[in-house]
């Protein structure tokens, strides 16, 4: 199924507007307001495409496209959509603000109890989580950009007041989210002889070499990173002194929430209320690292820079986050590709070293970091091709591109989903779990990112086919009736074996699919990959055609506007056009050259026939 970003996004918008808006107002469902993650995901379904896709902009009512207006009819008319969105965003900011006026980032019902019959207490629901910080960064940046443009188009005093109010709340939330991200970053130092150390050595060594050599390679390869961590990481984090010891192993990345004993950020020019004490263990999770990376990269996107969305404090925080962003990408990318032979990442499924979990989901998250790193460094073809193969295997093993067998245990990957314990959460009561159900959507997102990156026809073709298959799988999983029709997730549509799982509206999957479609648009916006072979052929075709045309021009032509003269002019202009295209779109140039050659041949043959007859 071909991905048509514009049409599919409009479908999602329409379904989303039908579900979530009534007469321009955001409807409050049962679970709304409980989890800041879900609420942010819901708003991003509209705001993210509106920020990233020019045709979907809503901040300039003058140029809002008609198909967009049709899809968002429930949100309001041309002039009412922006104020209604502002109202919905203001409602979100208000809901997720604590009693001391500080923004809150509750995980809410996304937290699960570890015990089968356990419960999650009210205090635990209020705990912040990296998903929410990261999602908030994206949402706040989208909101700030939206306000910046929209503000100039309106003169209504009540709307301008709402704009100012929302901007203030959004800025506060953005700063708080960035601070929380800083305080959730952690470096875990451990001994090679410890349980975790042994597991890490086993994962990266792939059993090929002795532990001592692996350890040596590790410290040599990661020496620059270690040095950066020692020298430059100081704010919002306390790094274990053990890091200075080269025989110690380490991991860096994001814990699930603010780390226990993480120092407060104090050197900002505007004081921020509420920097709650953390409780998370100093244990980086690959999953939360990917989540954080996704949000942080929006901080230095072109749009953020050109619109000047960050204030001085936020710029300072963004710098610090960028360093952590770089460090974790480099670390995990190195670990994923460790060694000379088989990459640890190619050994599916990935084993997490800290908590000893294994799942295709974790392979996917490690691959996601690798993709981030490849995007940043402009990957080599070899790295890319190997990553493509990993994606194909993950799609297959995750039963996205292949059939479920009877009593297939892979079903658990999708429903109920992969869970991981949140280390340290027991400090606030019972142990909590985090559950991921968006394997397919995450997979598609990374496939599209890779396809965007690939400049090699073979690899890109494989990726596109894979993307289309995954997308078809996801598109089938939309809920088809009742509440949330047109949104996700109806797992039974693709896995009939999934008994007892009804339609379950999932904003996280809906939001991921929206992101995928936005990324797919960027993919199509690029120039197609040109085939050098075809360019060569087209050039040769054109050369022959030009020659023959020159020869034909030697013949006398009768009238200036006769049919022959017109044919010659048409040939000339088509040849010109084809020559202009040969570098960028060789296949098109090739196709244009063929009829010209035919026509020239017809003229030559006709002349030949005449010379025989006379």
């Amino acid at each position: 199924m071909q991905i048509k970003p514009r049409q599919h996004l409009l479908d999602i918008w329409q379904a989303m507007a039908r579900h979530s808006f009534d007469d321009g107002k955001l409807v409050r469902g049962d679970t709304d307001g409980l989890s800041s993650v879900a609420d942010a995901e819901r708003l991003l379904c509209i705001l993210y495409p509106a920020t990233e896709v020019p045709a979907f902009r809503l901040d300039q009512p003058d140029t809002t496209e008609r198909d967009v207006l049709r899809a968002l009819e429930r949100v309001g008319s041309r002039l009412e959509i922006p104020p209604n969105l502002i109202a919905a965003l203001t409602q979100f900011m208000r809901t997720h603000t604590g009693t001391d006026d500080s923004p809150t980032f509750s995980g809410g019902h996304y937290f699960r109890p570890a015990e089968p019959d356990g419960t999650v207490s009210h205090e635990q629901r209020q705990l912040g989580v990296v998903d929410s910080y990261s999602m908030s960064v994206t949402l706040c940046l989208a909101t700030l950009g939206f306000l910046k443009v929209y503000e100039g188009t309106t003169t209504r005093p009540e709307v301008l007041k709402a704009v100012a109010e929302l901007r203030e709340a959004t800025n506060a939330r953005l700063t708080a989210a960035m601070i929380s991200l800083l305080r959730s970053f952690t470096v875990n130092v451990f001994d090679a002889e410890s349980e975790q150390g042994k597991r890490l050595i086993q994962v990266i060594g792939q059993g090929g070499q002795s532990d001592r050599i692996v350890l040596q390679q590790f410290s040599r390869r990661l020496r620059p990173l270690r040095a950066t961590i020692i020298e430059s990481l100081s704010r919002g984090i306390q790094v274990d002194e053990g890091i200075r010891d080269e025989s110690q192993l380490f991991e860096c990345g994001w814990a699930w929430g603010i780390v226990k004993d993480a120092p407060e950020i104090t050197d900002l020019s505007v004081a921020v209320p509420g920097q709650p004490d953390g409780i998370a263990d100093r244990l980086p999770y690959v999953y939360f690292t990917v989540t954080a990376l996704d949000g942080i990269q929006d901080l230095f996107s072109d749009r953020t820079l050109t619109l000047g969305l960050l204030d001085a404090d936020q710029q300072k925080l963004a710098e610090m986050l960028r360093l952590r962003w770089e460090l974790s990408q480099q670390y995990w990318s190195a670990v994923a590709r460790f060694g000379a032979d088989r990459w640890p990442l190619e050994d599916l499924p990935w084993q997490t070293t800290g908590l000893r979990l294994e799942s295709e989901y974790f392979s996917l998250t490690v691959a996601a970091i690798l993709v981030h790193d490849l995007v940043r460094r402009k990957a080599t073809d070899d790295d890319l091709t190997r990553t493509v193969a990993i994606m194909e295997r993950l799609a297959d093993r995750g039963r996205v591109t292949s059939r479920m067998t009877r009593r297939d245990t892979t079903l658990r990957l999708h429903t109920p989903g992969v869970t991981m314990p949140l280390a340290g959460s027991e400090r606030a009561g019972g142990q909590l779990l985090w559950r991921m159900t968006d394997f397919s959507a995450q997979l598609l997102k990374r496939i599209i990112q890779l396809a965007e990156l690939s400049r090699n026809i073979g690899a890109q073709d494989r990726l596109l086919r894979l993307a289309e298959q995954s997308f078809e799988h996801l598109w089938k999983r939309r809920i088809d009736e009742d509440e949330g029709a047109g949104l996700w997730d109806n797992i039974q549509a693709v896995y009939p074996d999934a008994k007892n799982v009804g339609n379950r509206l999932s904003w996280s999957i809906t939001e991921r699919v929206t992101e995928c479609l936005v990324a797919a648009r960027i993919l199509y916006e690029q120039q197609p990959i040109r085939s050098p072979e075809l360019a060569e052929l087209a050039r040769e075709l054109l050369s022959e055609a030009t020659h023959l045309f020159g020869k034909e021009q030697l013949e006398a032509s009768a009238a200036a506007d006769g049919s022959r003269a017109r044919a010659m002019r048409s040939i000339e202009s088509r040849l010109d056009h084809a020559r202009n295209l040969v570098d960028d779109r060789p296949a098109t140039a090739f196709a244009l050259a063929l009829p010209v050659l035919q026509e020239l041949d017809t003229l030559a043959q006709a002349r030949g026939a005449a010379s025989q007859e006379v």
Binding site: P61, E80, T154, T155, R156
Partner: protein, 305 residues
């Protein structure tokens, strides 16, 4: 409610469209007056098909009234005097539809204090008698425009609600011209402010109507090739951006009237009959006119942006 119909250039379909709007409002039950201030070329009578006043009234028209030559301008009851076969039977529930023609060969004239007072008198009187009063103004920044700007700023008229419709065709030149008529140095806005209007309030009462807009996607529209359709779409995009840059973008557009041969060539009222029985007019055109007529008094389409 007073509705002023203005345009920068001739040939924008201002008269024929506003006459159609008047007709639509009358059909829905409003008492409607159509005041022909198009001094120079009074043509409204032709649109309504009232033969006696085809080129304006012979005497006692609006010119004579404004110049003080007659105390009461002549009025024509369209339902009764039209020669249009379909209009002669006044539909049930319809309101009155009365035309106030200009004089034959009246031409433009300078307005003075007295003419202004008479204009105010007339509009006040019409306002108490009718629900909607369409005032068709000559093209460009004419005396007629100045007069009604002054009249609506007049202390006696302060409480009277009014709205402006600026008609323009959907081309580069017309877009720029229409924007100029409103926003330029000598535009309606500046002129209004000079005569005592509040700029924001006046701007909030101005909307645009795009006339004769070709739509390649309309099911009953002209049959065009895919290349033509693609080209038209791209041009339409560019024009919309141009309009937005000239502050007459989609958010201040009250409606769009499709390209319609009947309006172009015959300059007549489009009736349901034309769409349903003879099918000489497109359904979309009638719907567009009905919609604009409805939006005239729908506050969600007016006010500040």
């Amino acid at each position: 409610m007073l509705v002023f119909a203005a345009s920068d250039k001739g040939g924008t379909g201002r008269s024929v469209t506003s006459a159609n709007l008047a007709y639509q409002r009358a059909l829905t039950g409003d008492h409607v007056a159509y005041v022909d201030f198009d001094f120079g070329s009074p043509t409204a009578a032709a649109v309504f098909d009232v033969p006696g006043a085809m080129r304006g009234a012979k005497e006692h028209g609006l010119h004579s009234y404004l110049e003080g030559e007659t105390a009461e301008p002549v009025r024509i009851d369209v339902w009764r005097q039209t020669e249009h076969p379909l209009l002669r039977t006044r539909p049930n529930q319809s309101g009155r539809l009365v035309l106030f023609p200009g004089d034959i060969g009246g031409g433009e004239f300078a307005t003075g204090e007295e003419a202004l007072e008479r204009c105010v008198d007339l509009l006040l009187r019409l306002n108490s008698e009718f629900d909607v009063i369409f005032v068709d103004l000559s093209a460009g920044r004419s005396y007629a425009v100045d007069m009604v700007l002054a009249a609506t700023a007049h202390p006696r008229m302060r409480a009277l609600p009014f709205r402006w419709l600026v008609f323009h065709r959907w081309t580069r030149q017309h877009v720029i011209a229409a924007s100029g008529l409103v926003h330029a140095e000598h535009g309606i806005l500046r002129g209004g402010v000079e005569r005592g209007h509040d700029e924001d309030a006046l701007r909030a009462a101005i909307r645009f109507v795009r006339a004769a807009v070709p739509d390649p996607e309309a099911p009953s529209g002209p049959q065009v090739s895919s290349a033509q359709a693609t080209w038209m779409q791209a041009c339409d995009e560019a024009l919309r951006r141009l309009a937005a840059d000239h502050r007459i973008g989609d958010s201040v557009v009250l409606g769009i009237v499709p390209l319609e041969p009947i309006l172009q060539w015959q300059e007549q009222l489009i009736t349901e009959e034309d769409v349903l029985s003879t099918q000489i007019a497109n359904k979309e055109t009638l719907e567009a006119l009905e919609e604009i007529a409805r939006r005239l008094t729908d506050d969600t389409h007016w006010g500040r942006l």
